[in-house]
């Protein structure tokens, strides 16, 4: 297929306008300072509230690990959700910005998943008496981390970026199957990990004095993710411009010295 031809109709103009990389860069440059400020502010409030939150009546002070562990777990899963949506944009519309979004989300999602695994392990030792157990929740979260590494390998090692993107997009869609497995693992299997205590029928089982700091930390982590994702997308757009310019430079040199 010659470059520039499309098998599938373009999405409506409004989406194209919004997703034009140059406009996107201008938008990122404008909102990024505000996002950084909001992230710092929310983390300051969240951490102060977390330090002053009461201990759990069963777990004591180790409940403080929850303020990192739970938001990191949510964001690790949300990043994969974003990658799956982006993968759809890559495979169906072949939109370059969707591919940029997917590629930029992978290392950030992997980092949050790693935070979830490490803090979970450090929480498990004093609470369960073990750093690790191969139960459904922990194993499915480890699988998510390994899937992130797989997507990153496809994106960063492919010789032909287009082929790497398509393979990574397919893995992103296939890997989305793991998200409901993680979510419902505590219901479907007998796990050491506790069941849902925040979003569950009948309302949250956590007292407001602990729940509110947790929700503030969740918002702070979400803002951190959005900030880092937009900044990483900007980097990726610049990286692709560098690549294009280098290819043009090589082409010009080849034309000048045949």
């Amino acid at each position: 297929m010659p470059p520039g031809t499309r098998l599938i109709k373009k999405p409506p103009m409004a989406i194209i306008d919004l997703a034009n990389p140059t406009r996107f860069l201008a938008l990122v440059n404008r909102v990024l300072p505000w996002l950084v400020a909001a992230t710092v502010l929310l983390f300051a409030i969240g951490l102060v509230r977390a330090v002053h939150a009461p201990d759990d009546y069963q777990q004591g002070a180790t409940v403080k690990i929850m303020y990192l562990h739970v938001p990191a777990a949510w964001l690790g899963m949300m990043a994969w959700g974003i990658m799956s949506v982006a993968a759809f944009g890559t495979l169906v519309w072949r939109h370059p910005l969707a591919d940029v979004a997917g590629k930029a989300a992978a290392p950030i999602g992997a980092a949050f998943t790693l935070i979830c695994l490490v803090t979970g392990s450090l929480w498990g030792r004093p609470t369960w008496g073990t750093y690790w157990v191969w139960d459904a929740r922990l194993t499915s979260m480890l699988v998510l981390f390994l899937l992130y590494l797989g997507v990153m390998a496809l994106y960063w090692t492919a010789e032909d970026p287009g082929r790497g993107s398509r393979a990574a997009a397919i893995l992103s869609l296939v890997g989305a199957v793991n998200l409901p497995i993680i979510k419902f693992s505590v219901d479907w299997w007998n796990t050491l990990h506790q069941g849902s205590s925040i979003f569950r029928p009948g309302g949250s089982a956590i007292a407001p004095s602990i729940l509110i700091p947790l929700l503030i930390m969740a918002v702070a982590f979400t803002l951190l993710f959005v900030t880092l994702h937009l900044a990483a997308m900007r980097n990726e757009i610049l990286r692709r411009r560098v690549r294009t310019m280098r290819l043009m430079q090589a082409q010009e040199l080849a034309e000048a010295h045949p």
Binding site: P54, D55, G60, A61, T62, K64, I65, L68, H69, A72, P107, I108, A111, L114, I115, V118, T119, L122, W123, R125, P126, L224, L228, A231, A232, R234, N235, L238, R239, R241, V242, T244, M245, R246, M248, Q249, E252
Partner: protein
């Protein structure tokens, strides 16, 4: 409240330290990557390399 940061202090501190380290590494990578890409782009533009979309009416070099 009374037993805040009791015998589990090591695990709590380690959790926060590891999280801070991973987040700091992520931020550092993104910031350094940005300045590297900006520098390379500046270099290429200085040498007169342009992308097709920048070439309206401008001849190569």
């Amino acid at each position: 409240m009374t037993m805040s940061f009791g015998q589990e202090a090591d695990f709590i501190v380690a959790s926060y330290a590891v999280t801070a380290f991973i987040v700091a590494a992520l931020i550092a990578w993104i910031v350094l990557d940005y300045s590297a890409q900006r520098r390379i782009l500046g270099d290429l533009e200085e040498r007169g390399v342009t992308r097709r979309s920048q070439r309206a009416g401008k001849e190569g070099r």
